[in-house]
Point group: C2
Chain length 500, copies 2
């Protein structure tokens, strides 16, 4: 028997157990070669990767240390007597081996795999095996089964409404914060739109990050329900809702491996929408040479897959292909994006027209889910709700409902203007590069960090005129961002030629 | 800047870095989401997975801890000032993504992947991605390129001889310790046979484990060279030779995932033989219903792949399919197997005939690599060298050269006879099950643990007569082994019927 200890080591998503090399109750080296052990007492048990500790200051000889999250998952007190055994690999790994051999998987096999992943029975290595086996080929039936399996293992929301609308953008275009305009418009119309968003992971800001400039986004399910009842909408971080716990784990492996298949993307999004109780869904796929989806053909394939899954899980869907050729609005980074969003809602004369137009277009499509609205009337209704201040009022209700941010975050006060090297017309802006520069500047951790764009595609510019301004708070971040901008602004400037 | 500290935590094959959550020089949470960091000072750098430490007793705020092996790999003193950056994923991951998309890889891409793996730039998750991408399909040209890439990153042996022979068994049959008889026979004939072997990983004994009962096997390359010059052969552990460091890393992921493709197996073996400077090679593929290769068709496909690779890397090869339907010899476990081997070499009357016959068959094929021997004369020559004591004398030279074991290890003194449940004839013995029982009994860690077989396939047996005896040292191991034997001895006993 070993004595349980919580080791203050955060191994992120992987359960890690620590055993002293001087352990007398077990032979550490025998276990380590096997890579994974089961820690248990009675019926409580978790799987964990084993690390061996040589330093008695870190762990006593007959103690069993667990990383912070593994300790929480096991849910026993420090000092509890625990045992360990060689972990038998999850049985569902057999299905993955079948997939590798070229078989297609049935729903019950995908259920078993996703159940084991959600229960933290898979190591990252095993998750990678699953993802790669699926990446080489996956039928639409498998994608559907995967979507259902992923929805099943998470929480599930239900709403007292026949029509619950939602929107989702697959991302990749900086500044594209349409949700923060669409949600108040749709809520002002009276359609329930309980929007959960993610925080940025590799981008300079997620909708949750930008919304956090204005309001608390750390909202539980009950408060969310109250909000949707009272204000018809919300803009909260999805972290509490736990809609697709397996997906969160899958993403932690997909991202570093750079696996980005349509099937995984669609299953990930649709499982969350299914679990969120959405009945009607708008998907926004920006297409552009530096966006996530680069060609129209690719976008159309993705659209068809979304439609197939939606039909089969019973969600009404509209998939729009939008312009992803350059950033949307002027700001990139939480504070700057929130500024743009509020400028549109407040109908300020210099509010970015592209952000406004796009939000109206999307909101219009969502409003047409309302059977009361005549076909084609959605856009006009959306514009009306924006122009008459109803959307702004709805946004104020949502902000107050979630909890208004105490003080507005300041813009980063280290600034640098990046200048045009030549005369001409802006021909292209590299979304990916600008996102990286904004990210290096400190966004989204520093809410005030980011990029403020002065020129968009089609604008004329003279050599020496500013293209954009970098904002940062921390000296090192500022330098990294400026250095990257120095090696390439991300702007392509062409001859004005015969004029355009 | 951070201060380097060696944390006494052995994370096995993966580099792990530890950073305090209270770190002021960096933002731990930013780095952790990225999973991998680069730790460096000047030109010295390693990649590592990042864990965050909450316990100040484990790590001070501005220290950077490294797991024991990562610390050794970086090769800097404790207290050195180091920096960290987000690690860019190895560029060769791009080739893996291409492979996932269905492309075939060129030699330079496989070179880059294997180089990065050998340099510990891949996490287990990334290695799994590579292995699974290859497992779904791999051309023979890719297998060849992989073999060459794996041979290239390791050490390389060269010998002052035109003919350097070697043998390799793909394993899966307990007690099959022919190498320890073949090597002395071949050495006695005068052909250089520098045999390196592995220790058991999932089996109850590897050749290195069994040889260690008799002699030191922990021999460096220089001593090995002296041995081969003086005694013409050796039987050493391959751990010092570092012939295929990438393979050792790949195996640490293949095993827990249960990936076992022919392509990986052949590339693994042939890369080591290529690096070992072998010119002529005998491959032994045991075929049997409970062995690694279960059908003749599978064995023939594997043979053809071995032959293809051998031709292209310039190694002369003979591939034999042998009987893998039951254990070879009587002992399973280091001490028991060493007893069988020495009984054959010493020409004891009760030496196991199947082990002797098989070793002679294999040695005969190897001896025929000698251009001086007439076709078909190899077996006779092998038998002559065994019968006239030359092989025993050669084994004594090899044992003395490597360093004779001080005291012979004792057989485990906890014993249990497993009895036949009925009268009849032994129809089958489950290799896999007996290996598991012997392993549970403590083999190979306890050299004296294992199984001593009293009956083989075809032997008559009466109910209540012993089939085999379990030997163990440690009470818990003994119980586990006996428990498993209780649920099924691994023997199938059929009616004697009208005789066989």
């Amino acid at each position: 028997m070993l004595t349980l200890r919580r080791l203050g080591i955060d191994t992120y998503r992987e359960n890690v157990a620590f055993l002293s090399r001087a352990c007398t109750a077990y032979r550490p080296e025998d276990f380590q070669a096997l890579d994974k052990i089961e820690v248990f007492t009675g019926a409580r048990r978790i799987l964990a990767t084993l690390n061996i500790v040589d330093d008695p200051a870190v762990l006593a000889p007959d103690a069993l240390g667990l990383s912070t999250r593994a300790f929480a998952r096991l849910g026993l007190a420090e000092g509890t007597a625990v045992e360990i055994v060689q972990a038998s690999p999850p049985e569902s790994l057999e299905a993955i081996r079948a997939k590798i051999r070229g078989e297609t998987l049935e729903e019950r096999q995908l259920d078993a795999i996703i159940g084991d992943i959600a229960a933290h029975r898979y190591s990252k290595m095993e998750i990678a095996a699953f993802l790669i086996a699926c990446a080489s080929f996956m039928t639409t039936a498998e994608t559907l089964a995967l979507t259902r399996a992923m929805a099943r293992v998470g929480g599930r929301l239900s709403w007292d409404a026949e029509l619950v609308v939602d929107k989702h953008c697959i991302g990749g275009v900086p500044g594209n914060r349409t949700s923060m305009i669409v949600v108040p418009i749709v809520a002002a119309h009276g359609l329930p739109i309980p929007k959960t968003s993610s925080r940025a992971i590799t981008s300079p800001s997620g909708t949750a990050d930008t919304m956090e400039v204005l309001a608390n986004v750390d909202v539980g399910v009950d408060a969310m329900r109250d909000l949707v009842r009272d204000a018809k909408g919300c803009l909260v971080w999805g972290g509490h809702v736990n809609l697709s716990p397996a997906d969160d784990i899958l993403i932690s492996v997909e991202r570093p491996l750079g696996i980005d298949t349509s099937e995984q993307l669609v299953a990930s999004i649709m499982s969350k929408k299914l679990a969120a109780g959405s009945t009607h869904l708008l998907i926004d796929i920006p297409v552009g040479p530096t966006a996530k989806i680069r060609t129209r053909a690719e976008a159309v394939r993705l659209r068809k897959l979304f439609e197939y899954i939606a039909v089969h899980v019973g969600i009404e869907i509209v998939v729009l292909l939008t312009d992803g050729s350059q950033p949307v609005g002027r700001g990139i980074g939480p504070v700057l994006e929130a500024r743009d969003v509020m400028a549109v809602l407040r109908r300020e004369p210099d509010a970015p027209a592209d952000l406004r137009d796009r939000a109206l277009q999307l909101a219009g499509h969502i409003l047409e889910f309302d059977p009361e609205l005549k076909g084609g009337a959605g856009f006009v209704r959306a514009r009306q709700l924006l122009d008459d201040g109803s959307a702004l009022a709805a946004m104020d209700r949502i902000i107050d409902g979630q909890g208004r941010a105490a003080a507005p975050s300041a813009l980063g006060n280290r600034t640098k203007k990046v200048l045009a090297q030549r005369d001409g017309v802006v021909a292209a802006i590299d979304c990916y590069r600008l996102a990286r520069i904004a990210r290096l500047a400190g966004a989204p951790t520093d809410m005030g960090a980011g990029i403020d764009l002065f020129r968009k595609v089609g604008d004329p510019v003279a050599a020496g005129e500013p293209l954009y301004r970098i904002h940062a708070q921390i000296a090192a971040d500022f330098k990294f961002a400026c250095d990257l901008a120095e090696t390439g602004s991300g702007y392509t400037i062409d001859d004005t030629g015969g004029g355009r």
